[in-house]
């Protein structure tokens, strides 16, 4: 090995040291709480961050470590910390650098969990957020104030699938010395490595396309290693002595991995949203086929877009790869291999037709997850957003006839045949 390994190779090998004891080809599952120290000096060295090693599985675990280094490698980051869920990743990443009085500028079009965290939970601890229209890049800059410490967004937004102009937003962040944190769950590093476009921190719900099989919940924070935390005095949690570890200065000692180390030293230790080793093992199995699956997700998405656009019962179809979508040009730039496998479409006949469609498909699973190997659909107006009136729905970018589709890996002809059942029922309701 003399040149950097490529993506597909990394997705199989990165982070895994071949088990030196038995040569086991798969990473062993270290289902253990704690680790026996060979001597007291080693023990104190590990606790004092003088050497790597494992002490307690809430902080580090060898199986989880393989996954962390694999995700870091695929994203091109300097380090990663895995968490019990994607939301835990977001929470731990934000609270590692923000404190009372600090401010976030975030996209208004994001997964409900992200919105709720910033709108309801973080303000209780004095961290406030200004939400801005993700398609209005300048709005991010306008919203930055003296206490702004973070810009947050999803590369592919939710539910409108608006794409951030990441390079422009990263330039704003760099200009104001504010790191840009990107939730890359919908794109995965296979479709876009956001660090290459200037993002600084990457968040994943590994539960979705990364794991890919709907088998395990997990999250990851990737440290891009590309923030000069010391440039201003704005990030004391990174640049000031940290008392619990004998006043360690993480920025001086860990440089490009200072942020990840803060998460490990603080969030993993004090909050303990740790990923289980068995889940890490399952997620590793999923990542081994990430590019194969993503290629198939994209091919099926393309075929279904053509099918839906030509269907008489379809009122509208939205996907960033369609010229009519407002993010069409940005999709071409940032997501040339495909703009994700989430598609929204309207069923002619409104709310009742939408419900009829959902109730009459059999292969597609009616549930609220995305990124499974199986095709998933949901009708927001009668489920996730059923308690919201039409005006509020509209404000959230949801229409009454809207179906959200997470395209799976089935034979696309079978998905189409299944949808035909739904459209026939919808047509009866629509009259």
């Amino acid at each position: 090995m003399s040149r950097f390994l490529n993506f597909d190779t990394l997705s199989l090998h990165a982070g895994q040291t071949l088990d030196p004891v038995y040569g086991a080809r798969a990473a062993p599952i270290y289902q253990t709480t704690s680790y026996v120290f060979p001597d007291t000096d080693t023990a104190s060295s590990i606790f004092n961050l003088e050497r790597g090693g494992h002490a307690y599985s809430r902080i580090t675990n060898p199986t989880v470590g393989v996954l962390e280094q694999r995700v870091a490698a695929l994203e091109g980051g300097s380090a990663a910390v895995c968490t019990a869920s994607g939301m835990a990743a977001t929470y731990c990443a934000i609270t590692a650098i923000l404190s009372q009085g600090d401010h976030i500028v975030a996209s208004s079009q994001m997964y409900g969990g992200n919105i709720s965290l910033m709108k309801n939970t973080l303000p209780r601890f004095g961290i406030t957020t200004t939400f801005v229209d993700p398609t209005d890049t300048q709005a991010f800059e306008k919203a930055i104030g003296a206490n702004t410490r973070l810009i947050y967004g999803e590369l592919i937004g939710n539910p409108g699938l608006d794409i951030l102009d990441l390079e422009a937003i990263a330039a704003i962040g760099a200009k104001h010395h504010v790191p840009v944190m990107i939730d890359a769950t919908f794109n995965t590093p296979y479709l876009c490595r956001t660090l290459d476009y200037g993002a600084n921190i990457v968040i994943h719900s590994l539960t979705k396309w990364m794991g890919g099989h709907g088998a395990a919940i997990g999250g990851a924070v990737v440290d891009g290693g590309n923030v000069d935390w010391g440039a201003t005095g704005k990030y004391p949690t990174i640049t000031e002595p940290y008392a619990p570890f004998q006043g360690i200065n993480l920025w001086e000692e860990f440089g490009p991995a200072a942020f990840a180390t803060r998460i490990r030293a603080e969030a993993m230790r004090d909050i303990g949203a740790s990923l289980s080793p068995v889940n890490a093992f399952l997620l590793l199995q999923g990542i081994e086929t990430l590019s194969l699956r993503m290629d198939r997700h994209m091919a099926n998405t393309q075929a279904l877009l053509e099918y839906l656009e030509g269907h008489a019962q379809v009122a509208w179809v939205s996907h960033p790869s369609l010229p009519a979508h407002s993010s069409y040009e940005l999709a071409k730039k940032y997501l040339p291999k495909g703009a994700g496998s989430i598609v929204s479409f309207g069923v002619k006949g409104g709310r009742d037709a939408g419900r009829a469609f959902i109730e009459n498909v059999e292969l597609a699973s009616h549930l609220a997850n995305v990124g499974d190997a199986k095709t998933l659909i949901i009708h927001p107006a009668t489920t996730t957003h059923s308690r919201i009136d039409a005006d509020a729905l509209k404000a959230a970018g949801i229409t009454e006839d809207m179906i959200r589709l997470s395209v799976g890996l089935e034979d696309v002809e079978d998905i189409k045949a299944d949808f035909e059942q739904g459209f026939r029922a919808a047509k009866k309701v629509a009259g």
Partner: protein, 273 residues
Amino acid sequence: MEFEVGGKSVFATTGGKPFDANKPVVVFLHGSGFDHTIWGLHSRFFAFRGYSVLVPDLPGHTHSEGPPLESIEAMADWLNDCIEALGAKDVSVVAHSQGCLVALEYASRFPKALRSVSFITSGLATPVNPALIEAAEQDPEAAIAMMLGWGFGPAGHLHQGPIPGNSMVGGGRKVMRGNTPAALATDLKACDAYRNGRKAAQAITAPTQVLIAGKDRMAPAKATAELVEHLREPEVTVIAESGHILPQEAPDRCRMLLRDFIFRHNPATKIAA
């Protein structure tokens, strides 16, 4: 910490303890295009065992004021200035790659405070491929890829790291990006031009230690053999599985060897006694 040498600001980490010139001192020197972060774990280890630790960024690298120094000899002078400015009395030098050339020059010319030298993955000279120097100036990403691609052994290429979850190649790439093109190109030219290695090695009187990486593709084996040949009774260890960036690829082994050597030749206990 920050201090001034020749009117310019120097940044150095001290391993998590304040610098105290009355303690024995361990100085860690980084290689071309790198900075203090390569020594992260090692510096903290010594700082918490009775030593004062100094891990400077070379001028023009990461946090130290520029411009980068253009010759190995100048870097050795600068190192001596740093040590004198801080008033350090019992100094062990630990050097990696290009840092070894600086250490050769420093140890041969400024023996007064020197108690030991540890050379890690370098020989007497470091001839640099002109294509690499050109890339450092014209296409920094290509130069970084060449250096880290050749520099790291398998563990680096597989994105492992001394701390669980950290990728040493990922971190190295970020550090080097901050030091291109000027610092890296200047470093490489200085390495290439250095010719005084043999004489310097012969002149060193302090105890020396040489750590060789079995999978090193950066340091020419011949130059390493010559270093061993011309030093006075060096303690030589080969770490078979490591690549060139040994302090990160084999951190535990490296730390143990440094500990055994430095504890013997520059003991921290004599202060207490």
